[in-house]
């Protein structure tokens, strides 16, 4: 397997690395860089736990090769928090959108992606945007509330 240099922006910082051509972005983040916030919870493309943002779009890092993010912006759950939690993270914390936390990074990133393109989503739009993510604890009730909380916080901040 040949290896190549990869350069992309990771959580706002320039990143250069080397990876084999078949290296999945998920494994690169978790194993090579030790960014274990992004979770593995299925055998490929079934659950959404590994969702990251690539140029602001939610992507499954388990179905993305590192080479595919060359020159792009990649955001993971570790990159959202500045001083304290981000609005989406705050929403999932305050509203109990996270119970065991196994799906949470994926939901947080999918919700972050939604709110970046649609700051005031309806409940149906939230359901649409989070339809590829599986949660086994919450029944999704409080996840919807968490996203609504975050949307409100972000709008307040923008105003």
């Amino acid at each position: 397997m040949s290896k190549h240099l990869v350069s992309f922006t990771l959580n706002g910082r320039p990143h250069d690395g080397v990876a084999p051509d078949n290296r999945l972005l998920l494994d690169y983040l978790r194993e090579t860089l030790g960014l274990t916030g992004t979770k593995t919870a299925c055998d490929g493309g079934e659950c959404g736990a590994c969702t990251v943002l690539v140029d602001d779009q939610p992507r499954l890092s388990c179905l993305t090769l590192v080479g595919q993010v060359e020159g792009k912006r990649v955001d993971t759950v570790e990159g959202l928090a500045g001083r304290g939690l981000s609005p989406v993270q705050e929403g999932f914390h305050q509203k109990l959108g996270a119970q065991c936390g196994g799906c949470t990074p994926g939901f947080v990133m999918a919700a972050e992606g939604l709110l970046r393109r649609n700051p005031d989503p309806s409940v149906d739009e939230i359901r649409d945007a989070l339809g590829s993510n599986i949660c086994r604890c919450t029944g999704y009730v409080k996840i919807i509330e968490a996203v609504q909380y975050a949307a409100e916080k972000m709008r307040e901040k923008a105003a």
């Binding site: 109990l96 065991c100 339809g131 993510n133 999704y140």
Partner: protein, 781 residues
């Protein structure tokens, strides 16, 4: 000036104390532990459902460079399990393989590719035996025994009759009998099973980090299997992403990792994938239930006969307990005297079942509440009225000697009836489109707050909590209670903070590290809030006593005169008083760091009776109660059922934390919905088919309805602040409530779960029973 007063958090909406870690990605689960220095562990699994092992050939794998250790069944002849009377399982199969996917050998190698290649080179030779994939097949007269010491493949036969059931049926105005069927379901928790085992050959010590609900059980079994003293073993439970019961017993993953680490003389990380996590199973068994009930024309239940067959899988696991719960928990929800129960737990060539949320109670509750609903209909009674005709009156003991001290079911029913608009809407909802009909159904359920007799009877208290107070004034709670996402750490911090009147920010918690924290039996059967919560309260009260005495000393007052105002302690007459830090400084004088302890024990009255063998199962300090109404839309053309809305009321005694109680109720109802609507493992010749998250249809956010929850507080006399369980009791009610709603919508009873379009159509066409008979005859499938 602000009034100085104690801070209270009990009864409030309190976000989880470990929430920030989980939402920011900082929470470390077992698979997240840095393992650059670890070997990769992988498991070779049997491709055969049943066979005598002739040879496990690892010679080719051993030749592979980078392979550091290989273990097989030959490396460990010690059995493990849950009940000391039923340690039937080896970490890796010896002599026989009994299900497809059973571990046979394992490899530790320098990287994943090497480990995978080594697995590929292992050869298993067996003499294949007939395999049985359903209970009835394994019970056939000519069936080969899976285990020598379980003749006829019966893990446990249960029979009891209390009262006179035949007479009870004779006294009834209506007697009805039905067959119900529930397929096998899995927990499908988000986190893969994982273990990092680190063996230190210099000190002969083993440290295991594991994704478990029961670090203490794992500790015991590691010592047995490794042949090491318990004192040489340390078990750490990092963040755990869910369990729902599949991690309430030691799993082979943990033991195999440790065996590999010991043989390799180093560190081995084994993270099994989703398919393997499914095949490790420990979910709810495929269950056939024949239920017969007698009822008077007023809706009073006269008698019950229940026959239950559980397909237990290839090993004992929790089997004996599961089949006993299915029988004992017919009681403790309604006032019933006469019950005959016949239960058979059967060994089959499928992965072992376990203690899935609502352990043992769920499938029988589906049958029971479905039949109640059908009989109510036949007698022209309202389903709510039938439940009301059968209330218990607490405090009381049931016919099978279960202690019921608090009973909020009536309030649950009243709320669910009112909130759902039952009286005005049922039977009057407009069709939302061609071929579509709407319906409302309801059902009740209950669950224990921890088993009053522990599995491992050691004579120790059920729960022990330590609190450490040091010079810095921080209060540190030390507990072995396994936080798995249910919020146990939050509850313990809340209770300790509340007793001391402190802000929760001053209280820290350390859990689940056998080197530091006191032993705890684990997170299962909804025991933690009740048992560990009570122990935490006692520990905090002991600490408070020490602080009050110190304050009294310093203020030259009597302890009785000290007002504890959280951050300020003062004698009644004084204005100024002492700050908390000043009290701590005084308390530490001469004695240094303070450690206090609190215990909890169940009372003998709660231990169940002895009217039949196993009658202790079902005994608890307090039962939760729940009632729910489900609204559905049924498409009669396609058989599709859509759940539109759920109203659920749950009696948790007292909500210590309203936010987490709501989360538990919603999650329980929703998990019941998964089982009722779409989830099913399914096998082909013993190979689990729905072994991934696409085929095993966990409901997505698109499939999930609004759930309106309501908390009922019956204030149990023995609960911490009156609390009982909140995390399981609402699950079982969903299954019959939705089936009853479908019956309300289209007049057809679905006795087979889940309510997938094919099954609903079959029921509409009156073929449901034929399907079941076919399934029994088919045998393999």
């Amino acid at each position: 000036m602000n009034e100085i007063k104690p801070v209270r958090s009990i009864g409030e909406y309190v976000p989880m104390v470990d929430g920030p870690e989980k939402v920011s990605g900082r929470a470390q689960y077992t698979a997240d532990i840095a393992a650059a220095d670890a070997l990769v562990g992988r498991i070779y699994r049997s491709p055969y459902a049943h066979g005598e092992i002739i040879k496990v050939d690892t010679s080719e794998a051993e030749k592979l460079p980078g392979v550091v250790a290989i273990v097989t069944g030959a490396d460990c002849d010690v059995t493990f399990g849950v009940l000391p009377i039923a340690y039937s399982e080896h970490p890796m199969a010896r002599d026989k393989v009994r299900y497809k996917g059973e571990p046979v050998a394992a490899v530790a190698a320098i990287d994943e590719a090497t480990a995978q290649e080594a697995i590929r080179r292992i050869k298993l030779t067996v003499n294949e035996l007939p395999a049985y994939f359903h209970a009835q097949d394994a019970l056939a007269e000519d069936a080969v025994d899976l285990h020598e010491n379980r003749p006829g493949n019966v893990e446990r036969d249960v029979f009891y009759e209390l009262g006179d059931v035949d007479e009870a049926f004779a006294d009834a105005d209506l007697v009805l009998e039905r067959d119900y069927f529930c397929p096998e379901v899995c927990q499908a928790q988000m986190e893969f099973h994982a273990a990092v085992a680190d063996y230190d050959p210099v000190r002969d010590r083993m440290t295991v980090h594991a994704s478990t609900q029961v670090p203490f059980y794992v500790h015991i079994q590691l010592a047995r299997v490794l042949g090491m003293s318990k004192s040489q073993i340390r078990v750490v439970k990092p963040f755990v992403a869910g369990g729902f019961g599949c991690r309430t017993e030691t799993l082979n993953v943990e033991l195999i990792s440790a065996l590999l680490a010991k043989k390799a003389g180093g560190k081995v990380r084994t993270v099994v994938n989703r398919e393997e996590t499914f095949i490790t199973h420990r979910g709810r068994p495929e269950t056939e239930i024949r239920l017969k009930m007698g009822m008077t024309k007023d809706g009073k239940i006269t008698g019950v006969e229940c026959e239950t067959y559980q397909r237990g899988g290839a090993h004992s696991g929790y089997g004996v307990v599961t089949i006993l719960y299915a029988g004992s928990m017919i009681y403790a929800i309604y006032d019933i005297a006469d019950v005959r129960y016949i239960g058979k737990r059967v060994l089959t060539n499928t992965p072992p079942c376990g203690a899935f949320r609502g352990h043992g109670t769920v499938n029988v509750r589906f049958a029971f509440e479905s039949l109640l609903d059908e009989m109510a209909g036949e007698l022209g009674l309202d389903p709510f009225a039938v439940r009301r005709a059968n209330y218990l009156h607490a405090p009381t003991f049931t016919e099978n000697d279960l202690m019921v001290n608090s009973y909020g079911l009536p309030e649950c029913l009243d709320w669910a009836e009112e909130a759902s608009g039952w009286k005005t809407r049922r039977g009057k909802m407009k069709s939302p489109g061609v071929g579509k009909k709407k319906g409302l159904g309801m059902a009740c359920s209950h669950y224990i707050s921890g088993a009053s007799k522990p599995v491992n009877w050691t004579g120790e208290p059920h729960a022990t909590v330590n609190i450490k107070l040091d010079h810095d004034g921080s209060v540190v709670v030390l507990s072995g209670a396994a936080e798995i996402g249910q919020g146990s750490s939050t509850i313990l911090v809340q209770t300790v903070a509340d007793v001391l009147g402190l802000d929760m920010a001053r209280v820290r918690i350390v859990t689940g590290d056998s080197e530091v924290t006191p032993k705890d039996n684990g997170s299962y059967s909804s025991r933690v809030t009740f048992m560990v919560g009570n122990a935490a309260i006692e520990a905090a009260q002991n600490l408070k006593r020490v602080l009050v005495e110190a304050a009294a000393r310093k203020l030259d007052a009597r302890p009785d005169d000290i007002d504890v105002l959280g951050e300020v302690y003062r004698a009644s007459s004084q204005d100024q008083g002492l700050t908390f830090d000043e009290v701590v400084a005084e308390a530490l004088k001469d004695t240094g760091t303070i450690t206090v302890k609190g215990n909890f024990n169940t009372i003998p009255e709660s231990w169940g009776g002895n009217k039949y063998r196993g009658a202790a199962i079902g005994g608890t300090m307090g039962y939760s109660y729940a009632a729910q109404v489900v609204e559905v839309t049924v498409d009669e053309e396609t058989g599709e059922v859509v759940v539109d809305k759920v109203w659920v009321a749950h009696d948790c005694g007292k909500a210590l934390n309203r936010l987490t109680v709501e989360g538990q109720i919603e999650g329980s109802v929703w998990m019941g919905m998964g089982q009722a609507m779409s989830e099913e493992t399914g096998y082909y010749e013993g190979l689990m088919m729905a072994n991934n998250l696409l085929d095993y249809r966990v409901p997505t956010i698109q499939d999930s309805p609004p759930i309106i929850s309501h908390i009922v507080e019956s204030n149990d006399p023995n609960g911490p602040y009156g609390a009982k369980e909140a995390g399981e009791g609402s699950l079982a009610g969903f299954l019959p409530a939705v089936a009853n709603a479908v019956a309300d919508a289209i007049g057809v009873r679905c006795l087979d779960l889940p309510l997938t379009p094919d099954r609903v159509l079959a029921a509409i066409e009156g073929k449901s029973k034929t399907m079941k008979a076919a399934r029994r005859r088919r045998g393999r499938g």
